[in-house]
Symmetry: C2
Subunit: 515 residues, 2 copies
């Protein structure tokens, strides 16, 4: 794609056609500047098949803000729409609408609240709340979902991999298998959700982190094809990068060639006063090879050299590797914990594609529209009460128990403010008979989660740094119960609704269905 | 991301850090302008778990060409690299290297051959062959894999969905669940591989196709919230789009509300001389609802109105829907085939993410390097002969049998030209004892698949249009055996190697392992 086409494809026309046809309809009806509210939320945690997430990590907002501030209908976009025809050969979009769209087709009337990036989030609570003229709010839908769904998906996967990695360094390596330009968003989300660094050079620069990487098999192969040996390749690398010497040891044979050659070069480096960084294992039985490699490095006097593991890692594979090391290390006279503490995980494909569940089903639903100055709640009846969105203008609160753990999130109408001073009724969102009551002594804090981002198109949000997002994520994950954090069959975190919200939804469903 | 950051993150630094560290190593060794050859190929068809592909569709080249022609090391990129430090606080990249890189860090020395987009391709054959100075060729790796792997993955999925859709119109609807900006590449690949149109407005414009789309549930909901009815929403839509009237009928209840209201509005349209387009079903039992909806439309005199289906469709779901219609339609007095022939499939998430297998394991392997004017083949020993790349400079041929069916692809060394006049030996790529011999009478044609794209950095390729790519895909799919095309347990298509290539690989493995 050339730069001019790219500007078209990534500008305001980065949207579904029906947003444009609906916009003309609202214009024709005189409804185009009617205020409406849409909620963005997801209905289910990612489900990877054999395992499933018990929490998600929010991400993607910052790049959405940039996009919203930058795009508008350019003359080229209007010219394109003017050229679209109907089946009968007429114009699909009329001039009066296109004139209005060129003058008003941006996000300058939008008010947006959102839960900050890095925060732990759950299903069926509004993560992003959009209010504004219905045409603008509707035009935002596709890009908002595209930007936020993917980054939440990847931040969540990264958080899981970090959990299974027992806090060891986690590197994101997935660029070559990512979904094209989505790679950059994926890397960013991984860095919010749990990765420490990435191999992706450009986006690391943009985010202010050093990219990580050493050499590929091809470097060793090139030396071999030119009649030299693996040790010559390692020595060349050590000469150029004496303080960054991390060697990939599996091009020929890890234990018989790679690790011994690496140790030879590490000894040479040590004699010159440099400390080698470590080795990378990229194939074979990584648990067994880690143990054996650790022993060889220990025996050669390099107990601090790292062992970087890569090759189709994910949360379960890492769990398997550490479990196997715990069980087997002693047979080789190595302390399992010391092996695990020198591991670094390089995770590629399965992180950046969220292998097992490559999409988050985030939706963007109309929940209210203004009529004669008052908000009318909107609802869509679905097959089940679960899929029927919560109507009306709402707020989200996190309720912490007496230990400071997050015990439930509560969705209320916007005029409700839960108090820590009186009993708090948490209604199950779908099941009429289920509810939970927290007494004041059981509640240490009730925290509002949504913050103002845009007010009538004006940015009112102090955009946090990547490091601040990571701090939020660390804090929020720490405040979860261990049962919610575990990799398999996590406890279900409570996302409740207030009595007032329950009553409103109930009334609207009855009105619409006559139940 | 702001535009300046985007230029950094999507320019030449859209790469893994180790490409940069290796580049400096080659520079330091004086090897940086040494010619090398890399092959891009994948080892396995996508495997979706319960089902797996029997062929792939090539895609992605055109956008790779654009990127290669546009990017180079800008002063900002060099400044960034100059600021990178080592653990001891020194500079990671030295000035002499950076000066050379700024002057030479582009793809002006690259020769590239590729199999055209839209062609059917298979594992373990070079799809893209890159030859050039080792630093340039290595710097291309990450972006090449990123661009091509994803588009091949999605073109392949689209081809499968087209197969199961029995040739009915296929619309790509996945933008909101795609991996961020990868959405545009995914839409393009879907359009090459099997989709007719897309809802993605911007990229449809860029590719010269009309985008498709009508309205969302939110439009009906807005009318309801304002005190009007579903039929008012439909009527408004028909007023604005009398010749494009496709109505989403499941906001309240498909059979009791949506379809009857649509028929009311269709009758009004007909009286005004317009022909309604049809209805869209987005929830529920789509097979059952299609039959019942078809009957209602027939009875009202709209036998040509389309029924668009959407909601988590993929190749298996479509197969299930058509199978169920075949079995059940007669019970409702409807001809199954006529129902199926009015269906249109709108496929979203599961196409654009390649649900079930969201990555293609394409690799980029060093296969040769020049030494004293002669090419030295390069090899990397893996755990298995399957994973060990074919060494040397190679060509790929498609062998057609006497019926004109593609019967095998053959990978040879570059100085071999298979003939239709003498027996053709097709060696199994991994198993020593397996081979197949085709007599001249069994071969109707042997076709070279790789074409020249860049010659020493100069574009020598007449870039085909999207329509030409789709024609190639249709022809190639038609030439496959039905067993290879089927959705479950497809026959394994033969990708063979020549005797000379077998012998070269065998010799190199023995030399390196001492087997």
């Amino acid at each position: 794609m050339n730069p001019s086409d790219r500007a078209t494809a990534e500008g305001i026309l980065f949207t579904d056609q029906y947003q444009l046809t609906m916009a003309q309809l609202y214009f024709r009806m005189g409804l185009h500047e009617r205020a409406a509210q849409f909620d963005h939320y997801f209905r289910d945690y990612p489900d990877y098949g054999a395992h499933q997430a018990g929490f998600c990590v929010n991400a993607g907002l910052d790049w959405l803000i940039d996009w919203m501030q930058r795009v508008h209908f350019r003359p080229e976009d209007i010219a394109y729409m003017r050229a679209q025809t109907t089946r009968s050969g007429g114009r699909l979009f009329a001039d009066d609408f296109l004139d209005w769209l060129q003058a008003n087709g941006d996000f300058s009337g939008i008010s947006l609240m959102a839960i900050p990036e890095g925060r732990v989030v759950h299903p069926n609570m509004p993560l992003t709340v959009v209010r504004g003229p219905i045409v603008q709010a509707q035009l935002l839908e596709t890009a908002l979902l595209n930007f936020l769904n993917y980054q939440i998906l990847i931040a969540t996967k990264a958080a899981r991999i970090r959990e299974s990695g027992r806090g060891q360094l986690l590197l994101e390596f997935g660029m070559r298998r990512a979904h094209e330009r989505g790679a950059n968003a994926g890397t960013r989300a991984a860095l919010i959700g749990g990765a420490d660094f990435s191999s992706n050079a450009g986006i690391s620069h943009v985010l202010g982190l050093p990219p990580k990487g050493t050499h590929a098999h091809s470097m060793v192969q090139a030396f071999l094809a030119l009649g030299m040996d693996e040790v010559d390749a390692f020595r060349a690398y050590a000469d150029v990068y004496p303080d960054e010497c991390l060697l990939l040891v599996d091009t020929i044979n890890t234990l018989e060639s790679g690790v011994p050659n690496a140790i030879t070069v590490f000894e040479e480096l040590r004699r010159k006063g440099h400390q080698p960084v470590g080795v990378r294992l990229d194939s074979g039985d990584l648990a067994y090879l880690s143990i054996r490699t650790a022993k060889l490095l220990d025996d050669a006097g390099f107990p601090d050299a790292s062992i970087v593991l890569s090759n189709n890692l994910d949360e379960l594979v890492i769990w398997q590797i550490t479990t196997q090391i715990v069980e087997e290390a002693h047979r080789y006279g190595v302390d399992a914990n010391r092996v695990i503490k020198r591991l670094v995980y390089g995770v590629g494909t399965r992180l950046i594609t969220s292998e097992g569940d490559p999409s988050l089903g985030g939706v963007y639903k109309l929940v209210g529209i203004q009529e004669n100055g008052a908000w009318q709640p909107a609802i869509k009846i679905s097959e089940s009460r679960e899929k029927t969105p919560n109507p009306g203008n709402k707020r989200v609160w996190r309720v912490y128990d007496e230990r400071g753990h997050a015990t439930a999130d509560l969705v209320t109408l916007e005029d409700e403010t839960p108090s820590t001073q009186s009993p708090l009724v948490l209604r199950h969102p779908f099941t009429r008979v289920k509810k939970r009551v927290l007494e004041p002594g059981q509640i240490s804090r009730v925290e509002p989660l949504l913050v103002d981002v845009f007010a009538d198109g004006r940015l009112v949000y102090d955009r946090p740094s990547l490091e601040e997002m990571r701090t939020l994520r660390r804090q929020d994950v720490e405040r979860l119960d261990p049962g919610v954090r575990r990799l398999l069959n996590p406890h279900v975190y409570h996302v409740s609704v207030s009595q007032k919200l329950w009553d409103l939804k109930d009334r609207l469903i009855r009105e619409l269905t006559g139940e």
